[in-house]
């Protein structure tokens, strides 16, 4: 009896403190309230409360290096999904993102592929009664032209972080480079010169 009353009193006190916490909305009051019980109780997020992003967020610093950036002549992104509506929305997002960042983009839709299976309907016998399943894979191809390495990395990371569930992506990058240094002149001449100078 006494234990029950004590528990009820604890509950009431907890409730009041929880209520006060939700009104304040700051984490410092948790430390002030103290008590072992409070620290173990997790506050459920309420939909009416909105915590703002702190305004003094430090922007990540931009570092520049002396190495020349890689250049991509073409970036070909193939996106595969089972649902056409999802692909349409994703296409709208990818195209808008590319246009905002100043990248030329081209979209087309390769034909879908269907994989069909015919299986027996029943566990045992009944060969004449079957059931058919199909798996539809729908495609969308984005072609981006003339990107620097940094831009490509940024765009691809942005696109891939926002890839919806049930969608897969394959990226083919065509990088352009100058001829390697050792191919500009054949080294046989240099070798013969060395031999002459040695002898």
């Amino acid at each position: 009896m006494a234990a029950r009353a004590a528990c009820a009193a604890v509950c009431r006190r907890l409730g009041q403190e929880l209520g006060s916490l939700s009104v304040n909305g700051s984490k410092s009051s948790t430390a002030q309230a103290g008590g072992l019980l409070l620290s173990s109780v997790k506050r459920a997020p309420s939909s009416s409360l909105h915590i703002d992003v702190p305004k003094d967020l430090i922007k990540p610093t931009i570092t520049t290096s002396d190495e020349p950036d890689t250049l991509y002549k073409r970036l070909s992104i193939l996106v595969k999904a089972h649902d056409k509506a999802v692909l349409d929305s994703y296409e709208y997002f990818a195209v808008l993102a590319a246009k905002e960042l100043g990248i030329s983009i081209d979209v087309h839709e390769p034909p879908r592929k269907m994989e069909r299976l015919t299986l027996l309907k029943s566990v045992h016998i009944f060969k004449k009664h079957r059931v058919q399943y199909e798996m539809r894979t729908l495609y969308r191809r984005f072609e981006l032209k003339h990107l620097t390495g940094c831009t490509a990395n940024v765009y691809l990371e942005y696109i891939q972080r926002n890839l919806p569930e049930g969608v897969a992506m394959e990226v083919t990058k065509t990088q352009i480079q100058q001829l390697p240094e050792h191919i500009k002149e054949p080294m046989w001449e240099a070798l013969t010169k060395e031999e002459d100078s040695k002898s």
């Binding site: 990226v171 083919t172 990058k173 191919i183």
Partner: protein, 280 residues
């Protein structure tokens, strides 16, 4: 036996809070409602959404408690305004492509080699992607520093990998386990082909007519045959061999041997032979 109940401290059954949609303004900041990818919350999305095929004599299901709306991925966090805000944050990290090299020809002139590589992002039972290892190198032969003998030798060494119409050498490599190894091998192969093309062997100059890639008229058997036939014929007539018809015949024969057999080319050859031998 004590029954522990956590909560509001015995004030009675809780009243259901009104949904957030009722408190939303028309000009609210939508990216703050859905800043990241989140499941669909019917209390936080103010638009009426109907999803699901209705039961017989029924109406389509509303958004509250609709499982189909939860299953499908929603793009509510990627509205145009949201994308613009993301772009403002990402702009500093995107250097521009230098405008002087916008067209493909200029790219080829300054950067002749092209390297293809593939990446992918997907979810499935396996994290392996066999296409990730493959590296393809494409170079135009005209951009390499080779003389004419070197070019021919290079073409012969490359074999199937060289496509004559586009003058492009394509090397694909996927036998090493890592992309970096394949890339190094491809560059190594390019270097080796280049240097081997500059070498001339002693037996390389003893090539016969069958070894040549292109038909060359001087000192060929066709030239000797033609001149012999003409001499035999002219010996009977005792007149000078006409040079214009021989030239025509020479051009036609060279075309047939180099460009392959075509209707147009064969008709030209026929005309030239007729005029050469004065046939009707």
């Amino acid at each position: 036996m004590a029954i522990l109940c956590w909560g509001h401290g015995g004030a009675g059954p809780r009243k259901a809070l009104s949904p957030r949609t009722e408190k939303m303004d028309v000009d609210l900041d939508w990216p703050s409602v859905y800043p990241v990818a989140a499941p669909f919350k019917p209390s936080a999305a103010p638009m009426p959404v109907l999803m699901g095929y209705p039961v017989k004599k029924g109406v389509p299901m509303a958004k509250e408690g609709n499982r189909k709306l939860l299953k499908i991925p929603n793009f509510l966090h990627l509205t145009p305004l949201g994308i613009k805000r993301h772009r403002e944050a990402l702009d500093d990290f995107c250097p521009e492509w230098t405008a002087a090299r916008d067209c493909d020809e200029e790219c080829e002139k300054h950067f002749p080699t092209e390297i293809d590589a593939a990446d992918s992002a997907s979810s499935g039972p396996s994290i392996r992607n066999p296409k990730a290892r493959v590296v393809t190198l494409r170079v135009k032969l005209s951009s390499l520093n080779l003389d004419s003998h070197g070019k021919k030798k290079r073409i012969k060494l490359a074999g199937e990998r060289f496509r004559k119409t586009a003058d492009v050498l394509t090397v694909t490599r996927d036998r090493c386990p890592v992309k970096r190894h394949n890339y190094d091998y491809v560059l190594y192969l390019l270097t080796v082909l280049y240097h081997e093309a500059w070498k001339t062997e002693e037996w390389g100059e003893n090539g016969t007519e069958e070894d040549m890639e292109e038909c060359v008229w001087e000192n060929s058997s066709s030239e000797k045959n033609v001149l012999q036939t003409l001499l035999q014929r002219r010996a009977a007539d005792s007149s000078v061999a006409p040079s214009r018809e021989v030239e025509d015949y020479q051009k036609c024969v060279v075309r047939v041997k180099n460009e392959g057999e075509n209707e147009e080319i064969l008709t030209q050859y026929k005309e030239s032979v007729k005029s050469l031998l004065n046939l009707e």
